[in-house]
Symmetry: C2
Subunit: 359 residues, 2 copies
C-alpha cells in the first residue's frame, strides 16, 4: 500500500474495474469520476470504500451493467428517468445533464430517477449546475436506518440534500449533508474501535437514548437531525421525509422502509411499492430572477459577509458551506489521495479477482 495515490492512477483502476464487469468505457469513467470526487472532497465514506459494495451488488445480480436508461415521462420543465437498475451514478449524471439542458431553455427544471441504486455524493450533481451559471439541487433516498420522532420503526434513510450556488470570485457555496446527526459509517468505525457513542445519535429498540454504536444490530435506529423532540428532531424528520417524497413519490420509486439496501449481503424487502431507489435533481438559472452579474456580485457579498463572522475562541474562522471540502480537494489534487487500510485490502482482493492491475 502506498502512502498516497494520484488521482489518475485511482481513476484508471476504478474505470478498468467497472469496464471489466461489463460497463461501457463512458459509464466506467463516470463511476470513477464521481467516486473520486468524494475522495478529493474528503468524504471517503462515499469514495472507493463503496467499490466493494457496488461489486457485491453486481455479483448478486442487482445491477445491470448494460442499462437502457430512458426518459419515461417529460414535460417542458421536468423529466422522469428509469435507471434500469444501473449503478445509480450513471443515471444520476445523465439526469442532471438533461435537467441542466432543460433549464437552459426554461430557466428552471426538475428531474427524478426511479429504478436506481446508490448514487455517490449528492454534491457532485448539484455542483454540475454551477459551471452553467445555475443553482443545482439534488437529493436521494437511502435504505431505512432512521426512526421518525416518537417512533421505534426504521422508516427513513440518512437522505442527503445538496444545494450548490455559484459565486463570481469564490468557489461555489455547496451545502451537502445527511439529514441525521451521524452517518452509518461513523457508527461502524466506533464499533470497530470498541468505543461508545455520545448521547443524541442513536436509540435502542424501545426508543430510549443509547450509547451503543452497534445498537442498529439490536433493533435500534439512528435519530433524525435535532436528536430529540425537545431539540427539534421532528424538523430533521420533516427534512428526511421531504427528500424521501421527492425521491420516490414524484416518479414512482420505493419510499421509506421499502427502499432496497445498497449492499449485496442484505436482501431487498419482498414488498415493493415502486421501482428501486430514487433521486431528484433541480436547476435554476442565476439570471432567472435578475441579471447574472447582479446575482454574482450579491453572492460574492454574501460569502464575504459570512467570512467576516467572528469565530468563537476555539476556532480561527467561520466556514462557508463547501469551503472545507474545496480546500481538501485542492490538497488532494496536489498531494495525492491516501486510502484507509481496509479499503486498500478490499480493492486488492477485488483487483485480483477481476485481474485488474492495482498496487
Amino acid at each position: 500500500m502506498k502512502e498516497t495515490y494520484s488521482y489518475d492512477e485511482l481513476y484508471r483502476f476504478t474505470s478498468n474495474l467497472f469496464q471489466k464487469i461489463g460497463c461501457s468505457e463512458n459509464d466506467a469513467n463516470t463511476i470513477a469520476e464521481v467516486l473520486l470526487a468524494a475522495e478529493l472532497r474528503g468524504i471517503p465514506s462515499h469514495g472507493l470504500m463503496r467499490v466493494s459494495d457496488y461489486i457485491s451488488m453486481f455479483e448478486k445480480g442487482r445491477i445491470n451493467t448494460k442499462p437502457n436508461i430512458q426518459i419515461i415521462y417529460e414535460t417542458p420543465t421536468t423529466i422522469t428517468v428509469d435507471a434500469d437498475s444501473c449503478f445509480g451514478i450513471i443515471a444520476a449524471k445523465f439526469t442532471m445533464k438533461k435537467v441542466i439542458e432543460k433549464a437552459h431553455n426554461t430557466y428552471s427544471a426538475w428531474g427524478t430517477v426511479i429504478n436506481s441504486t446508490h448514487y455517490g455524493i449528492a454534491g457532485y450533481y448539484a455542483i454540475m449546475a454551477t459551471t452553467h451559471d445555475m443553482i443545482g439541487m439534488s437529493g436521494t433516498n437511502a435504505n431505512p436506518l432512521v426512526a421518525p420522532t416518537w417512533s421505534i420503526s426504521r422508516m427513513l434513510g440518512t437522505n442527503p440534500l445538496a444545494v450548490a450556488v455559484p459565486a463570481k470570485s469564490y468557489p461555489p457555496f455547496v451545502a451537502d449533508f445527511a439529514t441525521t446527526p451521524i452517518a452509518r459509517g461513523k457508527l461502524a468505525l466506533l464499533e470497530q474501535q470498541g468505543k461508545s457513542i455520545e448521547w443524541g445519535f442513536v436509540q435502542d429498540k424501545e426508543g430510549l437514548p443509547s450509547n451503543n454504536p452497534a445498537i442498529l444490530k439490536d433493533g435500534g435506529a439512528i435519530v433524525p437531525l435535532g436528536s430529540d423532540y425537545e431539540h427539534g428532531s421532528h424538523k430533521g424528520y420533516c427534512m428526511a421525509a421531504i427528500i424521501d417524497i421527492f425521491s420516490s413519490v414524484l416518479g414512482g420509486a420505493n419510499f421509506g422502509p421499502f427502499v432496497p439496501p445498497q449492499v449485496g449481503y442484505i436482501k431487498p424487502s419482498e414488498i415493493q411499492v415502486g421501482k428501486g431507489l430514487g433521486h431528484f435533481f433541480g436547476a435554476i438559472r442565476i439570471d432567472a430572477f435578475r441579471p447574472k452579474e447582479d446575482f454574482l456580485r450579491s453572492m460574492d457579498e454574501w460569502i464575504e459577509t459570512f467570512k467576516q463572522a467572528k469565530p468563537d475562541k476555539f476556532h480561527t474562522e467561520v466556514l462557508i458551506p463547501g469551503e472545507p471540502e474545496y480546500r481538501k480537494e485542492r490538497y488532494h489534487i496536489q498531494h495525492g489521495i491516501s486510502l484507509q487500510k481496509e479499503v486498500y485490502c478490499e480493492l486488492t482482493k477485488i483487483a485480483e479477482k477481476y485481474a485488474i492491475d492495482f498496487s
Copy 2:
C-alpha cells in the same frame, strides 16, 4: 376577554383594523386570513400576537399600506416581485398565486419577493399549491438571531422552510419548520416565567452553551438546528443559509445580518445590501413526473405506511408532518380560538386607539 372567539369575529376585527390604517379591503382580508390560519393551526406565535408588531412597523413608517406590488423581472418559469414595503403577507400571497399560474402552464415555477416584511406562516403559501394539485414550497429570511456553527456573530434568522404535498384521501403532508431548535417566542416566554432553558438552544457572547433564556440581550445567539457541531449544527447552518440565499440573493433582498428587524422598536441596520426582507416560493404540478392518479395513490400509501410506524412507549402514535396542525385547525373551527391574555390586552389597546370594535 372571552374564553374563545369565533374565526369570523377575529377575522372581522383584523380586517377592520388593517382597513383603518389604510389597507384596501382585499389586502386587509388577506392579512386576516393568513394570521388566522396560524391561530387555527395552533401556531399563535405567527397569529394575532403579530398584530401589535405589524401596527408598530406601520406607525414607524416602515410599512406602505397603499403599495404598488410589481413583477420586476420575469422568465417562462420564474418571477421576481417588488413588495414596495407592504405587509409581507400581501406580497407573498400575490406571488404564490402567480407562481401557481405559471406552473399550470410550465409544470413547475419559482418566485421570489424583495423589499418585503414579515410574511406570517410559511406553510400558508405552500398549502395554497395543494388545492391546484401541486407541491408547494416557501421560505423566508428573518432578522438575525442565529450564529453559524463556530461563530459568535448573529448572522441568520430562524429562516423557516415549508413544503406541502397533496394526497388523495388524506389532508396534505405539510412540513413547516424553523431551522433552529427553538423559536424566539419560546425564549421570551421562559424569561417571563423566570425559568432557565435546557442546554442546546442558545449560546453566550463567547459562544459557550448557556441556560439563560435572556442571553440574546447580552450578546448571545440561538444555535442552528443540531445544537452543536458534534450533533450536526453545521447542517442546520446549511439549511438556514440555503433559505437565506434563496430569499435574498436570487432577487436582491437583504441577506443575513442585514435583514431588517420586524418590530417597530428596533431600527434597521444602516447598511443595506439589498431591498427589505425576502421570500421565495415554488410550485410543481404532481402530474409533472407521472400521471396524477399514480402520484396521489402513492402519496396515500406513503402516509399510510408512516402511520403504521410503531410509536415508542411514551406515545400512542407517530405523526405525519402537518397532522397535528390539521387536527388543531378542525378543533379551532368547531370550538373557537382562545387568545393569550397578553395578546388580548394588546389588541384591546390597539382597538381603542384606532376606534375598532373588539370585546
